[in-house]
Symmetry: C2
Subunit: 401 residues, 2 copies
């Protein structure tokens, strides 16, 4: 079964918004800065088609300054979103829009600051992976202690079936991603540039691996470069995508504190890993613990206890459950191949389901995020049965990819 | 003016409980273990004289087992508290009882577990010093980090006019005392043995210095040796004496956590200094922060903010204020010598008040604890005037020493 990016994009086009809306939203990612609240309100009031029609020659929405409108129109001039989407698709990049089966609905909590769409690289379902995800963020110029703690958290969260979301930056971000990758787990890099731009340059290998083994996500279209403002705006996506944010090391004016406070404002769980009070890189975290009601966490288990308590105890209440018969065919096949009362390895499952091992692993991570399977080390097993759609799940029916 | 220990004891005998009660309570410190709740209730119900009369040959209080009563009577046999008190006095040790002007009334919060009395070595007023005091406790086998943090806290608290209370143990305790002594500040060692017993032996110099420049306090009479149980019971005195307890480093089953939880049960402020999560000596502190609602503190200013917020902002509300005309003569003389609108040094004050410099310093610390004076570095100044007793203070009139 081929699940190449081109096919994935085509599948989205069938299931989500129509291709016109997809093109219009792709255009907006090139014309407006991420999270522009005014543009977000226009989208709510007029819809993408009308906004783009006006940018192509219509009147500005009421109250828009001529200068601002002219700026946007100039940027829109010559943008060819259809060609953008096609070019991205050939390079393994898809564009996920609100309404798409793979759209992480928790981003809607951002209201008018919701992304116009997300450019995504990597095979797994962003929506599924983000269901049980935690952000691990912190200082770029962190200490060995920060690297150690972030890597241990990344590995521990990944090994327990949680997706590690971070910003692919130097320091804590990179260590968290590497910890998750090293544990064979799920990790998402949310970039402040295009998903085809290796920034920071020293992380080009890491970013490539994130695209191959995990997911790369960006609001900005391919080819875009980061700016200071874009880093700050990117942080709101990390905060909104995840159930909670852990700050590992941070100075008093760290961008990771911005992420943490955004997470708090979005009613996500905010956590901090304490460190030596003798280190300037502990001050931001301790301030967060003292003044922002962040929780003290010291390892992955404690993080999961904070973000997953309800979900872990009663998954049917917290984790959005997908009816089994609405699973994508490949995931359904992997699930079907799992024996009723035994734990098996990925190679065993690959044989039983006639699916390549790397695809089996992607599907297992998705199935684990959905609460279908459990795992420890390299063994995977079936969890309690989940109702079929016909038995009434009360959820929408996403069918990504 | 002579303020030697013998004179101090005599002064107490005049001002506090009569010499019979003093002897009876001194006897009880030799007969019963510290904090024995049953004995405490007998004291409440019968008073010290009746308890001692019965121990000398009367009937046991109702409900007392014959075996227990016989044990106490055997221990009481041959105890000569009058001779004990006289011998202690000649060695610079006084016995402070409930009702004495120097009794720290906050110990009454311990109810029936209140000490029968306290054996005290050192010239300063225990009551005055304990008014603005913080306990700094932690692991004996602490790391360099713990030593550094405890010493910095001890010095910082002392330099800001706060008394540092600890247990004179190896590790965090010793570092906190040394920090305070090094800053020329006030520090109290609460021992689980007699104030004349150097335990731990490696701290004999430190304990000697605490008796000379600070205060040594014990529930057990001179000559007593510590036991495991006595350390635990000692901790409740540290918790009750102070406005709050800071734990610097502690393993999961540390005695300092016992102190912290006693402090919490007594509605004192409980604080913890975070440390690296990679250290086993951080686990107890982090557990305290997570499960016992302890506050994160990272330096002396933050500790003072926690324990002294109300008092610092509105001393007339929080700090028990002693009317100026009820001050001991030497303290009154030092206070009188302070100029109205200038900061002066200790030698200047010694000259102006015709008092030896070491006595001036002792009195200044007391006056600072009472809110009469402020200090920074080696300069001291007068704070806003405090009402005289005739203007209505509503407080009892302690006149220690």
């Amino acid at each position: 079964m081929s699940t190449g990016p081109a096919r994935a994009t085509a599948a989205h086009a069938e299931a989500g918004p129509d291709s016109d809306e997809r093109r219009d939203r792709a255009l907006l990612t090139r014309v407006a800065e991420p999270g522009d609240e005014t543009v977000g309100r226009w989208l709510e009031d007029y819809g993408p088609a009308e906004i783009v029609r006006r940018l192509r020659g219509g009147p500005p929405p009421p109250g828009t300054s001529a200068r601002r409108w002219e700026g946007l129109r100039l940027r829109a001039h010559g943008v060819r979103p259809g060609a953008d989407l096609a070019a991205a698709s050939t390079r393994g990049v898809r564009f996920v829009c609100p309404g798409d089966p793979d759209w992480p609905v928790q981003l809607d909590d951002l209201g008018p600051c919701r992304p116009y769409g997300l450019w995504v690289r990597g095979a797994p379902s962003l929506r599924f992976w983000a269901l049980r995800s935690v952000a691990v963020v912190g200082a770029r110029a962190c200490t060995d202690y920060g690297v150690h703690v972030a890597a241990a958290l990344g590995a521990g969260l990944a090994a327990r079936g949680w997706t590690v979301v971070s910003g692919a930056a130097y320091g804590v971000d990179g260590a968290a991603h590497r910890g998750a990758l090293g544990a064979g787990g799920a990790t998402v890099g949310v970039l402040a540039c295009g998903v085809d731009v290796a920034y920071p340059p020293g992380h080009s290998d890491l970013i490539r691996r994130l695209g191959e083994c995990g997911l790369l996500v960006a609001e900005l279209p391919p080819g875009s470069h980061p700016t200071r403002g874009r880093f700050v705006l990117r942080n709101r996506v990390i905060a909104a995508l995840t159930r909670g944010t852990v700050v590992v090391e941070a100075e008093q004016r760290s961008g990771s504190l911005v992420t943490a406070r955004r997470a708090r404002d979005l009613s996500r769980v905010v956590m901090g890993v304490p460190g030596p009070v003798t280190s300037g890189l502990s001050t931001g975290v301790h301030r967060l613990l003292q003044h922002d009601a962040a929780a003290v966490v010291t390892d992955a288990d404690e993080v999961i206890e904070m973000v997953g308590a309800i979900g872990e105890l009663a998954p049917e209440q917290e984790v959005p459950v997908l009816p089994r018969d609405l699973l994508p065919p490949e995931a359904a096949r992997v699930l079907e191949a799992l024996p009723a009362r035994a734990a098996v390895t990925v190679p065993q499952l690959a044989a039983a389901s006639a699916t390549p091992t790397d695809r089996v692993l992607v599907r297992l991570h998705e199935l684990r995020a959905l609460g279908f399977v459990g795992s420890a080390g390299d063994r995977w097993w079936l969890l309690a049965p989940v109702p079929r759609a016909s038995e009434g799940c009360g959820r929408p029916s996403p069918q990504p990819q």
